[in-house]
């Protein structure tokens, strides 16, 4: 565990259900991988979401990643289905790990020094409740959901950095994440709420 922690890791999550090709495209682009490498990251873990494995492998090949054995055990990554792919991006000395879906997202977040996530509340909470710095990327191709609103709100409060899924904006957030600190997300416990629950239940 200590060994795993020592490797500076970025965790990228597209959510478990809907793929987010634009974000994968940016993250697995030479430009961003080099920026990550310059910032000292040595491992990128990507949860790419349902049905995107073939496309993900294609991108790894396009990057000329050397297939490698994953440095993390399956028990750490919690992979239930197939979908684990792993490669070594030599120019940046970066290990790239892709997985479709994990039952232990919380553990992976725990390993990470930075999280880049889609704007789903579940993924946002996974990071913020673990106290990890978070870049939120809005999937603007999704219809009828509140991702933009959510991202704006969390950004306005200073809990996250938010951007669109394009290289320049993600890069900018990345450099900000290396120099700025976010406002701490307030804890979920409210004594006032618990008191009102008790009043309702026991009266």
């Amino acid at each position: 565990m200590i060994l795993a922690m020592a490797v500076k890791t970025v965790f990228v999550t597209c959510g478990a259900t809907v793929p987010f090709p634009q974000l994968i495209h940016v993250v697995l682009g030479k430009a961003l991988l080099e920026r990550l490498s310059d910032a000292g990251f040595r491992r990128v873990i990507v949860q790419y979401g349902k049905g995107y494995e073939a496309e993900f492998r294609k991108r790894l090949n396009a990057l000329e990643c050397v297939p490698a054995k994953c440095s993390l055990a399956d028990s750490t990554l919690g992979i239930t289905a197939t979908g684990l792919c792993c490669g070594f991006y030599a120019p940046g000395a970066l290990e790239v790990i892709g997985l479709e879906y994990s039952t232990r997202v919380q553990d992976i977040v725990g390993l990470a020094g930075l999280v880049i996530s889609h704007a789903g509340t579940g993924s946002i909470l996974d990071s913020l409740r673990s106290g990890k710095p978070l870049i939120v990327c809005v999937n603007d191709k999704l219809m009828d959901n509140h991702q933009q609103q959510i991202a704006d709100k969390f950004k306005q409060k200073g809990y996250v950095w938010a951007c669109k899924p394009c290289e320049s904006e993600v890069s900018e957030c990345l450099s900000r994440s290396q120099s700025e600190t976010l406002i701490r997300f307030p804890q979920a416990y409210s004594a006032r709420f618990e008191n009102d629950l008790k009043r309702l239940a026991f009266s």
Binding site: G122, F193, L200, F202
Partner: protein, 228 residues
Amino acid sequence: MNIELLCVVLLVVYVVYIVRLIWVLPFFRSYGSGNDESIDRRGPLNVFVFLGSGGHTGEMLRLVENYKKMVLAKGNTVYVGYSDEKSRIQFIQQVASENEGCRFEYRRLKKAREVNAGLFTSLVSVLQTLVQSLAVIFKVSRAMSGKPHLVLLNGPGTCCVIAIWFKVIEWLNLFQPSSNIVYVESLARITSLSLTGKLLYWIADLFIVQWEELCLTHPRAKYYGVLV
């Protein structure tokens, strides 16, 4: 004479149930901040939680976990309503297996099928759902009645059916105590309520939003910060 008596009896029953309806609806009830110390807040609690699906289940698991000192206290009975098996497994893995001091009872609630169903089959399926959920809620409500209890809901649509059944039972049974329905609106709702939220605003005994702006447009809503 008998007709007159019957009319009077019917009228009285009618008035009683109208009054009871007003009594049961949270809008006409006050949940004042009574003297905190006067209520004995110990003893086992009965809780009904409903696991919607996906994001709703996720938020409910977080809520239960964050308030486990009260909700999952030793000796509590937790009735877990669910529609999809995935949510139940998630609950067992993340909550039930870690809190062995509680008794967990699982109650499956049918979801109304909407995909690829004709009008007649949909209608039958909706009716089946209503009847099946009434049976479940009736039993749960009877088991919790007379003991300290809470009903925790956070969406989606099935929660409306659940809440309505709880309130109908409370309305028809004059001696039924309050259902104590707590609805927590999704964290994703920032500027407007969800459809379920809009309906439960009128039914829930404690209606909670997780962004302060929603309080401005919904005076009954309470805000305690992000609870999940």
